[in-house]
Structure formats: C-alpha cells, structure tokens
Symmetry: D2
Amino acid sequence: MTKKSAEELVAASGAWWDTSIIDIHPGEIAIRGYPIEQLIGRFRFPEMIWLMLRGELPARAQADLLEAALVAGVDHGPHAPSIAIARMAVTCGLPVNGAMASAINVLDDVHGGAGQQCMQLYREIDAEAGPGGDLVRAAQTVLARRREGGEKMVPGFGHRFHPVDPRTAPLFELVAKAVAAGAVTGRYAGIGHAVEQALGTAKKRHIPMNIDGITAVIFSELGFEPELGRGLFVLSRAVGILSHAWEQKQRGGRIMGPMPREIPYRYSGAARRNVPPPGVEPDVPSPARSER
Amino acid sequence: MTKKSAEELVAASGAWWDTSIIDIHPGEIAIRGYPIEQLIGRFRFPEMIWLMLRGELPARAQADLLEAALVAGVDHGPHAPSIAIARMAVTCGLPVNGAMASAINVLDDVHGGAGQQCMQLYREIDAEAGPGGDLVRAAQTVLARRREGGEKMVPGFGHRFHPVDPRTAPLFELVAKAVAAGAVTGRYAGIGHAVEQALGTAKKRHIPMNIDGITAVIFSELGFEPELGRGLFVLSRAVGILSHAWEQKQRGGRIMGPMPREIPYRYSGAARRNVPPPGVEPDVPSPARSER
Amino acid sequence: MTKKSAEELVAASGAWWDTSIIDIHPGEIAIRGYPIEQLIGRFRFPEMIWLMLRGELPARAQADLLEAALVAGVDHGPHAPSIAIARMAVTCGLPVNGAMASAINVLDDVHGGAGQQCMQLYREIDAEAGPGGDLVRAAQTVLARRREGGEKMVPGFGHRFHPVDPRTAPLFELVAKAVAAGAVTGRYAGIGHAVEQALGTAKKRHIPMNIDGITAVIFSELGFEPELGRGLFVLSRAVGILSHAWEQKQRGGRIMGPMPREIPYRYSGAARRNVPPPGVEPDVPSPARSER
Amino acid sequence: MTKKSAEELVAASGAWWDTSIIDIHPGEIAIRGYPIEQLIGRFRFPEMIWLMLRGELPARAQADLLEAALVAGVDHGPHAPSIAIARMAVTCGLPVNGAMASAINVLDDVHGGAGQQCMQLYREIDAEAGPGGDLVRAAQTVLARRREGGEKMVPGFGHRFHPVDPRTAPLFELVAKAVAAGAVTGRYAGIGHAVEQALGTAKKRHIPMNIDGITAVIFSELGFEPELGRGLFVLSRAVGILSHAWEQKQRGGRIMGPMPREIPYRYSGAARRNVPPPGVEPDVPSPARSER
C-alpha cells in the first residue's frame, strides 16, 4: 500500500462515512437536499420515512398506503417473543431504548423476516410470469419449485393462530383503491391473489394471506426492496415493543422470567452425580471415536 | 408459599403476562378495545402510536404536533454514534433488525436521554412555579439549585455543533398554533422560554433551545411522561438508523471500522516487554497495598 | 475552533481511538506490552481476563480466586430472564452472537447489577470503619443510613429462591485459603461477614449472603472496581447464555413465546368499542385538565 | 386443538422451558448433574465452559487446548467494529452490559462467522477425503468447487492486515503437543495444513492460516459443532469488548462518534432544493415505470 499524504488521509476519513442522506453544517440540516425546516410541519411521518429510505418524497396516495401498513403491524401481544422480551427487559433495569434493542434484535429471519421472504417470493413469481404471463400458473410453478427444494412454508400465507387475519381484508381494500387511483399498478396484488389461489388448489383448502403477505403486497407495490420490507416492519412493531415496555415499567416487577417461579421448568439432563475424585481425570471418549 | 392448584397456576401464568394494550382471539385483534380493522386506513401512524402508548385516541391537532416532532428527529448523520454503529453493523453481516438493535441500544442516558431529562427539568419548574407563579423566576431557582448540586449541563439547551438548531423555530411555531387552536395549554412552551431567558441572564449570552428542548416542550404539552420522551425519540431516530443501515448495505463493505485502516490508532500503553520466565510469578503488588 | 492542519487532523483521529490495551502492527500483536505469542499456551483464560482489565498479570493465587468466581456464576436456569431471552431469540432466527446480545443486554442494574451494588456497599462500610474500626458497627451504621434513605434491599444478601445459596460456602472457603496464603487481605471477607451479622441482628433472622454477595467479596479482595464486578459477572453468565441458546437451537422451535399458546394471557384493558364515526373527533380530555 | 386440563397446561408450561443443562431446587444447583459446590474451586473456567456446552467434563489436555484458543482471540483493537462500538456505546451512557450487547451483536456472519465457516470448510474436506483419502487432493477439490460456486474468500486463511498471524504458530504447536499426547487425533490439523498447501499451489503464493483458521482446527479437533466455533469466539472476544468499554468509561467522553467532529464526513446526495409549493404534489415516477 502506497503511503498517503495527510490530506489524502483526511479525505479518506470523510469518504469512509460518505452518505447521500443528510447534509449538516452549523445551523443547517438538509435531508436528501431539503432543508429540515421546510419538512417539519408540512410532511407526515410516513412521508419522512419514505424520503429517508428512498431519496424522494412520495405521492400522497403512496404515503397513505405505506401508513396503513405501518398502522396494521404495531403489535401481536405478549405471546410474541419480541413483546415478551421487551417486558422482561424493563424488569431487569433497562430503560426503554435498551428494552427496544433486545426486542427489535429478535425480529430476525424467522420472527421478522416473513414479509421480506414473501416479497422475494412475489418477485420470483413476477419474473417467472414475465409481462403478460399468467400469474396463477407462475405462482404454481414457483411454489412447486420451492416445495421440491425442500421449503415447507410459504411466507406470508397461513397463520398458526388466526384462521383469517383480520388485518388482511382492510389492507387489500386500500390497495384496490390505490390501484383505482393510479397510485400503484396492482401487479403485486395480483401476484398475492395468485399465490392464494395456487395454494388453495395445491392444499385443497383455503390458506389465507396473513399480515406479512398483504404488507409484502403493499411494500412491493410501492417499490421497496425486500430487505426494507423487514425494516418497515421493525419501525411498525417498534411501537408495540415500546408500548409494552412502558406498560410493564409502570407496573413494576423485578427480574420477571417467562412464568411465575411457582411453575417449575422441566429438567431432562443427567441424573445427580459426583465429580471424579481428586487426581482422577473425567472419563472422556477417546478422540479416535469422533465426538461429533 | 402455599401450594397452588393447577387451575390457579394457569391463571397465574396468564396474569403474569397481563396487558391492557391488545386483545387477541382467533380472527380478532383489538387495540385498546378498538377492532384493528376499524383502525387501519382510518387513523394515521402517529395516532396509532398515541393510542398504543396512552390508551385513547388523540385529537387531530395533538397528533399533528406529535407528528412534527417525530419528523424533526429522524437523523443526525454519521457523527452520531447510533448512526455510525448502524452502518458498521451491516458490514459485519447483520440484517437491518440487528443493526437497528445495536444502534438503538446506545440511545441511552447521554445520547438519547436529553429529551427525557429536559422534560423532568420542565416538570420541576412547573412544580416550583405552581399555578400562577412567575416562570422565569422558577426557572432561575431550579437552575441555580441544579448548578449547586453539581450539574453542569442543562438538558435541551445549547448544542455543541449548531449555533442555532434549525429545527427549533418551526416546531415552536407549531406549538404556538396548537395553543391558539386550544389543543394544548402552552404551559410548557412558556417554561421552555423561561429556561432560555434564565440561561441567557445567567450565562450572559444566548443559549438557544435545541431539538431536545423543543421536543420536550411538545411531549410535555401533549401530556407524555418523561421516559416516553425518550421512547418517542427512539421511534423517530429509528428511521435514520434504518436508512443509514440500508444505504451502507447497498454500498457493501466488510467489517468497516471507525476509520480507514491506513490511519493508525494511537497506542499509549506499556512498552514492549517479556513475560516472566517459566516458573516465575509475575511481580504483583502485595495485597496490603490497596490496588484500588 | 481554530483550523487544524491535515497532519493534526490525522493525529487527532488516531488519538480519538487511543488505547493502552493492545498494540498491533503487521505480524505483531502485543497485549499490555506482552507479545501475544508469549501469552498463548502459557497463561490461563482468567489470567488473560485480568491482564486485559487491569494492565498487569495476576499472581497465580489471585487468578485461582477469580476463576472460582467465574465458574460459580455461569447459569441460573430458564427462570432467569437472560436465559429465557437467549432461548427465545434463537427460535426467532438469531445466530448465537445475536441471542447473546439480546440476553447480555438485560444483565442491567436489577438483573446483573447486584454484585456491583454490593461492592459499593462494601466500600462504603470500608470507608465508614476506617483502618482498625469495628466492621459490624460500621455495617450497622451504613445499613441504617441506607434504610433511612429508603433502600429496601441489601444487594448481595438474601435470595428469593435459595434459603442458603449453595455457592456461597465453597467460595468463602477459597477466600479463606487465599487469605491464609497471603494472596488477599481478607478485609472484604470481614466486611461481608459483618453485613451478615448486622442484618441478622436487625432482622432477627439469618439473611445469608448470596452469590452476588460472595463474588462481591472476591472481586473486592482482588481490587476490581465495582463496575467491573458487573462486567465479570457478564463474562461468567455469557457461558450459560450461550449454552442455553445452543441447546434451544439444536431442539428447534419457531418464534417461541414465553409460554405455550394454549395458555392465554390476561387482557385487562378497555372493553370492545367502536371508533368514532367518520368526521367525528375522538373525545379528548381538554388540555386544561392535566393529562399527567 | 383439543382442550387440555389445567394439569396438562402446567406440565406443558414446564416442558416449554425444558433443559438438560441445569437443575435448581431451593438450596441446590446441579450443572449437568454435578452439584455446583463440587465444581467450584476444583474445575477451571474452560472446563466449566466445556461442561456447559457439551454435557461432560473434558480431559485436562482438551481443556488446555480450548483455553489457549480462548486466550488468543480476546482482542483486535479499535479498528475492529465490535471494539469501536463498545467504546462509543459507553460514551452514550450505557453500562458495560449494554456496551457488550451492542458490540457482541455485530460478531455476525462477516465479523464473527469466519471461524464457523472455516469449521464447515474443514468438515467438507473431511467428508470429501473420507477415511484414508489424500487431504491435499480433497482440499483442492473442495476449494475448486467453492470457487466455481462463486465463493471468493477462503474463511480462515489470509489476513488483510497481518502478513503472518502471530497467533497461528504457537497455537499450532499446542495442537501438535495434544496430538502427541493422544488428546486429539490431528485430523483437522492435517486438514488445515492441506488447505494451506492447496491454496499455495492455486494462488502461487503462500496464503497463511489466520486466527480463525487455527482456532477452527482446535475447535474441530475438540469435537465442537461449527456454530459453537462462533460462540466460543464470542466468549473470547467478550473479554476485549469489556476491557475497551471499561477503558473508555474511565476516560470519559460524551457521545463519541467515529472520528473527531472537526473531520467532516462527505455528503454525496441531492443538491440543496426546495420542497414543492403547498398544494403541489412531489413529482413521483408513475407506477407503470417500475421503481425497483
């Protein structure tokens, strides 16, 4: 590596933290080029979220659709690990930021990734169908391919709790309105319906679209990348996480575990035993026998 | 502890996770008593945030004020540790939820607690003044008391970067409008101004209210508890954290540290030395001399 | 601020990340001045922990005592929130590092801070007694003062689960041995016993020292600062957190909440209600009536 | 779902948190069947780590090897994102547990997963060679297959900083000793060497094994699963993370970003612009043109 001059190093340092999102100078803040004082009071929170993530302001109808999806996903109660963790965390002494961190962290591939995975599924079907292709057939092809690849679950469809997710229909209506208004094309709504139809045929029963499936429709219609589907869900669920952390904080409680101590957990390990006498090594499988 | 019956234990388990926020049954979700399908598409995201945190829906003008504060605080650029951490985190392999967790976690007392502390300051002045008391005098009394108590900083006032925070004036205007419309009383706006005046007199120069000070005014006017001031800030800043994590993710980078490797960090520790020869114990201060 | 030259800025960047812990150059790593290759294979993990935290190598007997404390605190089972969180986290898709992060985070003031608080208590008694003062009397004075100050719990003493903590006696024996060998002074062992005696007199029953109380004795005898008491506990408990995360990972499970879904949580909120009709604002308390 | 009785629900609750690691009763703690009081003072911290993770106590020579690997990986200085994050975190107000959480979280696939990935590589070569097969040829086959599959990096080999990693040779010597003593078979040491040889031939230059490569050898020799390779690395690096958090805490600093504020970050976004006039919608790409 050739030695850089001090000027080059300072420039490299600045470039290391290059961003196109925000420009700050003393007394001046611009978001995506817009002075912050022009945004405050004029634009709504979902519009600001859009501007930050996408670089441009959305149309009003697009922001409305995004907002509805954000409203729909805020909470799923204490059986959701993220919510339970937030409540336990404050009883361990954490302030709300810390409780939110421990909780948001678990919105990972399984707990928070279904929407993102569903967006990827929709894209695959979009590509499979191509322009003008039959969406149901494309959905069938893609689902069959995934089943053969060993995938057992279709992200965004079915629910282990709700026979029908009460959030799906009202969100779908809003998508239909946005299509009618020309705000979105309806391509992904069509794909979502196609998946539902393909699944019904394959499984011989109706497997309804859940909240992840319909928000994946919305975020796809609005042109978000799949990983941002997860990100937007985190912004939405953060509200529920904060609310439960706060409710628990007001109620008190110290070091609250997952259930009352009176209910013993089950121990299924080795029976009580003594350590080997001093000087005697524990009995260890010889390395020739793989310990794998 | 008396032995409980199985029925009592099951009830205790349910009570362990008692909440007044959300009621869920198969096919049914109600937030604070409202069926979710009545909320979706009708209410805005800030209204949902309010409902979740407070238990009731806000007036439109209250939601507007809350929304403006949420819009104002989304980002403060890569010099903010939370933003830098989010960007570094994705280069270590974390998905956006994980990057957000590591970043939101550091919005603690110092980085994210100024708004909360400022709300506590306002409350103290509110109590000091009592109904009808002079706010500037109360502010002076409280600030003097705190200075005597060793506090050097007044949360919510002054900024190490912005001579004047460009977000303060537009937010103050919105508070004034809300006061005029009868949506809030203006009590905390008055207290905020009183602090500014008291500080100017004490320090012989203008120490302007910053973003924490004005959002503390807004959250206090809206009746939020101080800890929720921090929580609302986290919801707002989560947007910037996600946006920077996403921008960095698109750009790539692997294991990005705080500066280019070409810039060496300074080592100020012990000079190079050898461990003691085998069998020789390191030279350890005798315990009689305190190691504290 | 005067403008710095590029050279000064590069130096400032390096100084920003100044450390006395580790010096790294291509092909060379030195910890506290010692070449890493001299440490590997020669020194034990607790000795390395000590060197990293304290800057010097410990005597063998000191390392032994530290090691025993690290061994004693690794786990407290699934009723501990940190352990439960680790297990839930992996069922949400997190790898072990992420599960450990969410779990370690909650080892905060209440769940993980008792040892640290107990070390501070011991120091206060140490200062109160002064050299040659009566420790039991000093303990009584300090405890009385704290009770008057509103503190209800004595950190490190009593246990809501164990009548006698099985870890205390063997650790105390090791302290006694170390005192006999001249490795530590025994000052804090004496203070710990004094607290036990003072508590017994005050409460008219034996309130035994728990794991936090005895590890606080050990860490204090070894000259660690109170906050490191918490840090060392985190290093120890990290082992249990990892072990439970790993056990859960092997068993599978998806989005595991705190209890089986068949056990409903209790809802104690507003009764089912309808949102106000379109165009009608929700009924909001007038701002004149404080919402606090 | 058939309704369960209260007794069945309580049992299901206990089973939900089933573990084979720890059994706790009032006054009694057993780890993997061993009473905790028999473990304290008798067994070393690495032996406890092994017992917790594996279910059985290791042979002394196995524990020695594990210990050397734990010692070797504690720190890589402030250029490592995990270390930088820990230091920044404490200046935001976090206690050490919180700083450790934010930092450990980023030991993810890229920053902390190389050892795990290297263990998987070794296993693939082990399977490819089969009993008695030529290891170098197997390594060549596997590496070629991975290159064809698009993988550009070989986890555990090469270092962007160290021409030769000073930790590799002393650790390799300890493996050799353990092989000589019959504590491990040497299979994975052989595989590690084979990879080095295969890489040297393919790349026409020596690409040395780094710390991830040699610890992967050790953990594999000791029979750990790949994901535990990552977990053990986290336990080791946690020491450096704590040490840097603590050093920074003692030095103070408030809201420390990645570089001094005097060095501006580079802004590369939209030029300064005005929001559209009131009542005018932003210019949004029509949905017909994909926004993807």
